[in-house]
């Protein structure tokens, strides 16, 4: 409880400083506007922007569009990445080929795929999905492979002596045994997917739907810094919420089961 209060206090303090420096606190005699509102708008303007556009449904709609892209791309990345990672862990020739490719491509920030994606797919949903998948796939593949390789061989031996077939061992022993690695890979994949999608949406305008990233882009075009900052807040919030809602419960369950609790 005390820790929550400290965190809360810290963020309130940040906002007060921001408000103080941008003229929001003029009413109580604190008026040190260091920057023009075109450069750094006050929190009240950003708040207004977020509120108005939430009420009129623009932000919720674009969130829906963005999250749909994110989920579809992410899931495709997982569905490809986990089995390919398993294959790479199991067969040396796949490790030497696909594994090396993954290692190389993982080093490439996924925004670098944007120019190619635009040429290959045009300004379409497919281009955005492609970038998200490229962002997710390789890191998920590599962490699955790494997880499977780190499974102590004694588990598979024990399973075999209990009459478990090779396929059964793979699904019911090696995969759960590597779960801590795979889940942290999934989490990393999610973070990469989110970053990739934002990059792609900022660069690529797609007629089929106006996503969050595109609002950010047009905020800049139209010199509306309050819009840019408001959207940045939303992007941060989505990232944080996904972490707390999607991954934290799974991770804490794993920690409890494995006894790897840090606290």
């Amino acid at each position: 409880m005390k820790r929550v209060l400290i965190t809360l206090f810290f963020f309130v303090l940040l906002i007060i400083i921001w408000a103080g420096l941008t003229g929001d606190l003029a009413a109580i005699g604190l008026d040190i506007s260091l920057w023009s509102p075109y450069v750094l708008p006050p929190p009240s303007t950003v708040g207004h922007y977020l509120w108005d556009n939430t009420v009129n449904g623009k932000i919720p709609l674009s969130m829906l569009i963005t999250l749909r892209r994110l989920l579809i791309g992410y899931i495709i990345g997982l569905v490809l990445g986990v089995p390919l990672g398993m294959l790479a862990a199991r067969f040396r020739c796949i490790n030497d080929t696909l594994g090396m490719l993954a290692l190389g491509l993982q080093a490439l920030p996924s925004v670098c795929w944007v120019p190619l994606a635009c040429i290959w797919f045009g300004q379409t949903e497919a281009a955005l999905l492609f970038v998200v998948i490229m962002g997710t796939l390789w890191s998920v593949l590599l962490s699955t492979q790494n997880g499977m390789k780190n499974v102590p061989p004694i588990y598979a031996r024990a399973a075999r002596t209990m009459g478990s077939s090779p396929l059964h061992t793979l699904i019911f022993v090696t995969l759960p045994a590597s779960a801590p690695f795979v889940v942290s890979g999934m989490k990393q994949g999610w973070a990469f997917a989110w970053r990739s999608l934002m990059a792609a949406e900022i660069y690529v305008s797609v007629v089929s739907g106006f996503g969050i990233g595109q609002y950010l882009h047009y905020g800049r075009e139209l010199q509306r810094m309050y819009q840019v900052i408001g959207i940045m807040f939303i992007i941060i919030a989505v990232g944080l919420l996904a972490d707390k809602i999607l991954f934290s419960p799974i991770e804490s369950w794993l920690h409890r089961r494995w006894g790897t609790d840090k606290e």
Partner: protein
């Protein structure tokens, strides 16, 4: 009906006879070839409790793994009731030196793992059987505990229940208690003798500890290294349940130990 089937499942004690015939096994490493087993022959009768003793590197684990079907001999063969062993099977369960329990399953989930591979049982019956074996090793109160919450001795008891639950004919144990303290080990000696009295399985038990071997086994087989060979066999006629601090037991251990020392000394000369 189910009750009867359960009773059958639990109170039917299959055992088997093991024959090891002229088994040789080499390991090729970058530093050369190691002869882990050199023409080893051995017969283990139904319901016998045999302990393998010998210095490190004399091939005890290798032979156990061959019986388990995890390794293949280079020549010779291992037979179970006259049938050659070609791979792992549900008629032989292994208990390893480290517990090898699965941390993603709870205690009962671990015991259920082997049972789930066994056909002709409903899930409800499997659960009953698993509970029975947890009770047998005195771990029934911890059925839903996570593995990391158990002490080393408790883990080995769960591992024992997991190996017993599918009702194998043969139980193979590779230094299962070596990581435990003396007190816990003594308690487990009692438990394992108790289980053997009740279940009458064929048990092959590998250990470094001569006293442990004499305390548990109906026969102690001595191995010598470089190359791995069966050197001598000692039947143990002491009454059960045996206490490891018993006088006669200590005397017998003493004579086995000196035999062991005798040929490890000549070996290293």
């Amino acid at each position: 009906m189910t009750q009867e089937k359960l009773h059958q499942e639990i109170h039917n004690f299959p055992t088997a006879k093991l024959s090891i015939e002229h088994v040789c096994k080499d390991f090729v490493t970058s530093r050369g070839t190691v002869r882990a087993l050199d023409n080893v022959s051995l017969t283990i009768n139904e319901g016998e409790f045999v302990c393998f003793v010998g210095p490190s590197g004399c091939g005890k684990s290798t032979l156990l793994n061959i019986i388990a079907g995890l390794e293949k001999p280079d020549s010779g063969m291992a037979l179970i009731d006259g049938t050659p062993i070609t791979g792992p099977g549900r008629d032989r369960m292994v208990m390893f030196q480290e517990h090898a329990l699965f941390p993603w399953l709870d205690v009962i989930g671990n015991v259920m793992f082997g049972l789930k591979q066994k056909p002709n049982l409903t899930d409800k019956e499997r659960l009953e059987v698993a509970k029975y074996y947890l009770y047998l090793v005195k771990m029934d109160r911890f059925a839903h505990a996570n593995i990391h919450e158990l002490s080393g001795g408790m883990r080995q008891r769960v591992a024992l229940a997991r190996s017993l639950a599918p009702n194998p004919k043969i139980l193979l144990m590779d230094e299962p208690f070596s990581a435990l303290d003396a007190m816990t080990r003594e308690r487990l000696y009692g438990d394992i003798q108790d289980v053997w009295e009740k279940r009458r399985k064929t048990i092959v038990f590998v250990t470094h500890n001569v006293r442990e071997a004499v305390c548990l086994g109906s026969r102690v087989v001595l191995f010598s290294p470089h190359p791995g060979r069966v050197r001598e066999e000692f039947p143990v006629y002491l009454a059960r349940p045996r206490n490891i601090n018993n006088h006669d037991l200590a005397d017998l251990s003493q004579s086995i130990t000196s035999a062991l020392k005798g040929y490890t000394a000549s070996e290293s000369d």
